[in-house]
């Protein structure tokens, strides 16, 4: 009796695996995307409008919920404006890196031979080198800005996708259903797109979520160091840098962008963890 109840509770816990992470992560992402899309419609002040009377207003000031900065600019408005830069940059870099990495990983797994060896060594070399060092050097030489940032993060990130996709695809290639498709005369491309890619989709989704968080951190760190966004752009990295210089007078200048970054990265990580647990749950419940 007790054993059965425990088993039932365990089974229940399993079917709910990852659910709360998905709910909270999804809710956070929905709020952030909502702000991003609706920021033109919502009653938000101009993020660039300076007002020298209202400088250094603290948290909770009427009209300025998050306070104002050294030029009297509304911090809430600047935080929302920073969404466009940070999320846009991280999302684009994630899209590029995932696409390139998936294509190369699939190629390596399905073609084999020299293609595989070149991809393998490329991946090993890329993963061994500290990304931020390379990013700083590239941005210093090539110049900073939105697209250089996106391309640098892409260049340094594709290898992770390639490695995982290759490993998963190689495992899938040995499955009977792929063999059956081969015997039925399906082309390599058809097998890759119709049979292998759907099989690795859950893993890919989890990686996309985590990579997005990492890309956002890299972007804001590089901007914070003065190598990413232009100095006058309202981005979280720039806001942190401005806040750091005035930490003694107005600590909230730093806390607002720090909070934005933490919440966004947390949302991405929660989604990633949630998707991972959710897809694993399916496998478990079939096995049991």
């Amino acid at each position: 009796m007790i054993a059965a109840a425990t088993r039932l509770r365990r089974a229940h816990a399993r079917t709910n695996a990852g659910l709360w992470e998905l709910r909270i992560g999804g809710a956070l992402v929905a709020v952030l995307l909502g702000l991003l899309v609706l920021r033109g419609v919502l009653p938000i002040p101009d993020p660039l409008a300076a007002n020298l009377v209202d400088r250094f207003q603290p948290f909770g000031t009427p009209g300025h919920v998050f306070g104002t900065d050294q030029n009297g600019r509304d911090l809430a408005a600047r935080a929302v404006a920073g969404l466009r830069w940070s999320i846009g940059c991280a999302a684009l870099a994630t899209l590029f890196a995932a696409t390139i990495g998936t294509v190369l990983g699939l190629l390596a797994a399905m073609v084999g031979g020299w293609t595989q060896r070149i991809v393998d060594h490329g991946v090993a070399a890329m993963m061994a080198f500290p990304a931020i060092v390379a990013a700083v050097v590239i941005l210093a030489v090539a110049g900073s800005g939105f697209m250089p940032l996106v391309l640098t993060i892409t260049l340094l990130g594709w290898a992770v996708f390639a490695r995982v996709v290759q490993a998963e695809a190689t495992a899938l290639m040995a499955r009977p259903y792929v063999l059956a498709a081969q015997l039925a005369g399906a082309s390599r491309l058809a097998i890759a797109l119709g049979h292998v890619l759907p099989g690795i989709a859950p893993t890919l989704l989890v990686m996309v979520a985590f990579f997005f968080g990492d890309a956002l951190i890299t972007e804001s760190a590089l901007t914070f160091l003065g190598l990413g966004a232009p100095f006058d752009a309202p981005t979280w990295g720039n806001m942190l840098q401005e806040g750091r210089l005035r930490m003694l007078q107005a600590p909230w200048l730093m806390l607002v962008p720090a909070g934005c970054i933490i919440v966004t990265v947390l949302a991405a990580n929660l989604l990633g963890d949630g998707i991972a647990a959710w897809t694993r749950r399916d496998r478990h419940s079939f096995a049991a």
């Binding site: 060594h121 061994a128 931020i132 590239i138 941005l139 210093a140 090539a142 806390l255 970054i261």
Partner: protein, 311 residues
């Protein structure tokens, strides 16, 4: 055994040389795509005469292929040129800043292992209990906070609010606390998570059940039977992450004004001190190579299964 170690070291070395070659080539063409390399090499605020002199001295008026070959020849003998900022040899300047980074990274590694293992054992032994769940949730949140935000929050708390420690600089021993803590905050949660997961797994193994069956105390089972096996995963992680402590120290050093390689990297990037940037890239790649080699050897020594495979 020795033969295998040697072969894998040779393959790694070939990978390193290939990597350095690729990085060097990318930098070579990036520099020429981004604008006039002579203007970059002459530094900011150079006169037209100085730029022309640089162009002739570096052979930048010759054909591109000849330039590339000269460049490769210089790379091969580790001649990175002289720093544009100070006129010292670039490689010597980088090596001069190396010890500070090594000190910071090893202090942070030691602290991470201490904190990470402690938290990991606590969590791993308490799965399914509420305090364990709350702790792992906290860990998840901490892991999502970027290292440089942690650094800023630490300064805010310990230097600005409490006045306990200096906000930046390492003029005395008190200055080392915050940079070390900030860098460890990046690695410790990872070690904790891996240790906890491995410990949970180890506690479900048959040999643990056997140990309980022979009447061993729970504490003995945890520390003597389960933990040594769980440590393997943590060691592997610490090894692979050591290279990334170098990444973390880029941001940490420039926030806390610690004059190591990371600080030098940002300074050189801001002033576009190209020879120093290049020497830095080569030194970092070499260090990562050596670290990976060392971790491999250590791991082979620690894991009896790998030792057996070798024979």
């Amino acid at each position: 055994m020795l033969h295998r170690v040697l072969t894998s070291a040779l393959i790694r070395a070939a990978e390193l040389i290939a990597l350095l070659l690729v990085v060097g080539t990318v930098l070579f063409f990036l520099l020429r795509l981004a604008g006039d390399p002579a203007a970059v090499l002459a530094g900011q605020g150079a006169t037209p005469e100085q730029i022309i002199a640089i162009r002739q001295a570096y052979g930048l008026d010759g054909p591109l292929l000849a330039q590339y070959l000269t460049y490769l020849r210089q790379l091969a003998v580790l001649d990175f040129g002289t720093s544009l900022a100070s006129g010292e040899p670039a490689l010597g300047k980088v090596l001069h800043h190396l010890p500070v980074t090594l000190l910071l990274a090893s202090a942070a590694l030691a602290l991470s292992i201490l904190l990470g293992l402690g938290t990991g054992v606590f969590l791993g032994a308490r799965t399914g209990r509420n305090d364990g769940r709350i702790a792992s949730l906290l860990l998840f949140v901490v892991q999502g906070v970027p290292g440089y935000v942690v650094a800023l929050l630490l300064i805010n708390l310990f230097a600005v609010q409490l006045h306990w420690l200096p906000p930046f600089g390492v003029v005395n021993w008190r200055g080392w606390f915050l940079p070390t803590l900030a860098l460890a905050a990046f690695l410790a949660p990872k070690i904790a998570r891996v240790t906890a997961a491995n410990l949970q797994e180890a506690l479900r193994e048959d040999y643990v059940r056997l140990a309980y069956a022979t009447g061993a105390a729970p504490r003995t089972v945890l520390w003597r039977h389960a933990l040594p096996n769980a440590l393997l995963g943590a060691t592997a992680l610490a090894g692979t992450q050591l290279a990334f402590l170098l990444s973390g120290s880029v941001v940490t050093e420039s926030i806390f004004v610690v004059p190591g390689m990371g600080w030098l990297l940002i300074q050189s990037a801001r002033s576009l001190d190209f020879p120093v940037l290049q020497a830095l890239t080569a030194v970092v790649a070499t260090m990562v190579f050596l670290i990976n080699l060392g971790t491999d050897a250590l791991f082979r020594h620690l894991d009896p299964r790998l030792r057996k495979q070798q024979r």
